[in-house]
Amino acid sequence: MKEYIGNTEQFAENECRKIRIGKKKLLVWRTKEGFYATREECPHQGVSFECTKLTGTMMPSNPNEFEYGMDGLVLRCPWHKWEFDVRTGEPLFGTETKTIKTFPVSVEDNKVFVEVT
């Protein structure tokens, strides 16, 4: 079911808005690529991602080289620093098997909708 959750200007880039739909607690994120919605809590120890901002990460590299990438697409847990791709909820680079549940988001005439199944 598609739910209207606000207009685009109400969302800041790399940040989220907390959304409640029924009993579901979601965070809707605005990235430079678009809008994405995730479950609010980390699948590890349940901390809310609400207080964090999207960031980038260090990409797999050669020894003693750092390559920054995925700017604004990485959801890093504020506690144990697990990293997820905000677009898919998948953990980065095989570090974990637990994923964050995601929800489809669409934008129509500056209105943001999330689909909760």
Binding site: N64, E67, T95
Partner: protein, 366 residues
């Protein structure tokens, strides 16, 4: 891989022993392999066998580190290949034993690099001629002097193709194994398709320049003995998190005589921490435990002996130890584990891998 075969020994299993220690009785035994000028130098210095290992802080509480019954008629335990053959090879019938010479490794506490390099080469030549040619079951982990990695690499290139050489014994300085300092040694070992093994040298915690022990200076031999695993732990972490196998994918490394019961909890901790802080070492591209299982081996001695031996068996199962453990006896030392008396409760496949397959693959000994 090889299958279990009846070889007429007491174990009923073809096996490789990854840790046997040959010794010399006096420096004169090395003289045929030492250039004349250096021979004179050593004569002037009046150095002898006791000079090879500087007096350590830690004296064995029972008078010595060797088995008294391993003493040949003449000389110290481990000094006579014929006696070792009679006492160990013939009755136990190992397929191969890896000779890990400790006297040259103890020179990590020395500072005169040229003297160390000269003596190390002499030791290598001596053991190749006097031991590996005496019985082809003896195969040598040739020692290199870590004090000068370029000369160490040259030594590997000098004798690395000798059929009696099966590994490179890298005694450690107080520099961790993942450090680029050792790269020339690794490059030469890979070039010769030889694995790197490292082993306790007996000098740990006693001198500046050798591996320090964590937390402080232990008071007794016993304290230091149980704490030696700290060195292996630090070096294992270094190898993994410095990305050594990203740099050298074909490098093979073994920790010898550090036991293995500490590996499982360290793998757990490394995996957890990598999961959390991967951005600190982004060149580590898979779980540390997977890197370890693929590239690193551990020998079994000194085996921990919980009162309920099934706990040890469970630990080996929990850590997937059949894939990366290798049997070692440490003959002729006081704390040796003899192959007929240890690990008897393992299943047939696990025993086959630990006693033979893993070492045959690691050392290229089939």
């Amino acid at each position: 891989m090889a299958v279990v075969e009846e070889v007429g020994n007491k174990i009923g299993l073809k096996y490789i022993d990854c840790d046997v220690h040959p010794m010399i009785n006096n420096l004169q035994q090395l003289y045929p392999y030492i250039p004349e000028n250096w021979k004179r130098r050593f004569e002037f210095q009046n150095i002898d066998i006791t000079s090879l290992k500087l007096p350590s802080r830690y004296v064995h509480p029972a008078g010595g580190t060797s088995r008294p019954d391993a003493k040949p008629e003449k000389g110290i335990p481990g000094s006579d290949p014929a006696f070792a053959k009679k006492q160990y090879l013939d009755p136990f019938k190992p397929h191969k034993v890896i000779l890990n010479p400790l006297q040259p490794s103890a020179m990590v506490s020395w500072t005169n690099v040229e003297a160390i390099v000269t003596l190390t080469s002499a030791f290598n030549d001596y053991y190749l001629e006097e031991w590996t040619e005496f019985d082809q079951r003896f195969t040598l982990a040739m020692t290199v002097a870590p004090h000068d990695p370029l000369q160490a690499a040259a030594e590997i290139r000098r004798i690395g193709d000798h059929p009696g050489v099966s590994a490179v014994f890298l005694p450690l300085l107080n520099t961790l194994m993942g450090n680029p300092y050792y790269y020339p040694i690794y490059e030469a070992a890979i070039e010769k398709d030889l694995p790197i093994i490292t082993h306790v040298t007996g000098q740990e915690g006693s001198f500046v320049g050798v591996p320090a022990l964590s937390g402080g200076i232990p008071r007794s031999y016993t304290e230091r003995y149980v704490n030696l695993i700290q060195i292996a732990q630090s070096n294992l972490s270094s190898i993994v998190f410095e990305g050594l196998f990203e740099k050298f994918p074909s490098l093979r490394v073994a920790f010898v005589e550090y036991g293995f019961s500490w590996v499982l909890p360290l793998m757990w901790r490394m995996d957890k921490t990598w999961k959390e802080l991967r951005i600190d070492t982004p060149w580590v591209k898979e779980f540390p435990s997977e890197i370890i299982k693929k590239n690193i081996r551990f020998t079994t001695q000194p085996l921990d002996e919980p009162e309920n031996l099934s706990h040890l068996k469970h630990m080996i199962e929990m850590m997937d130890g059949k894939e990366f453990l290798m049997f070692s006896s440490d003959y002729p030392h006081w704390d040796n584990d003899m192959p007929t008396r240890v690990l008897n409760n393992l299943d047939k496949e696990t025993k086959q891998k630990i006693f033979y397959d893993n070492a045959a693959d690691f050392y290229r000994l089939s």
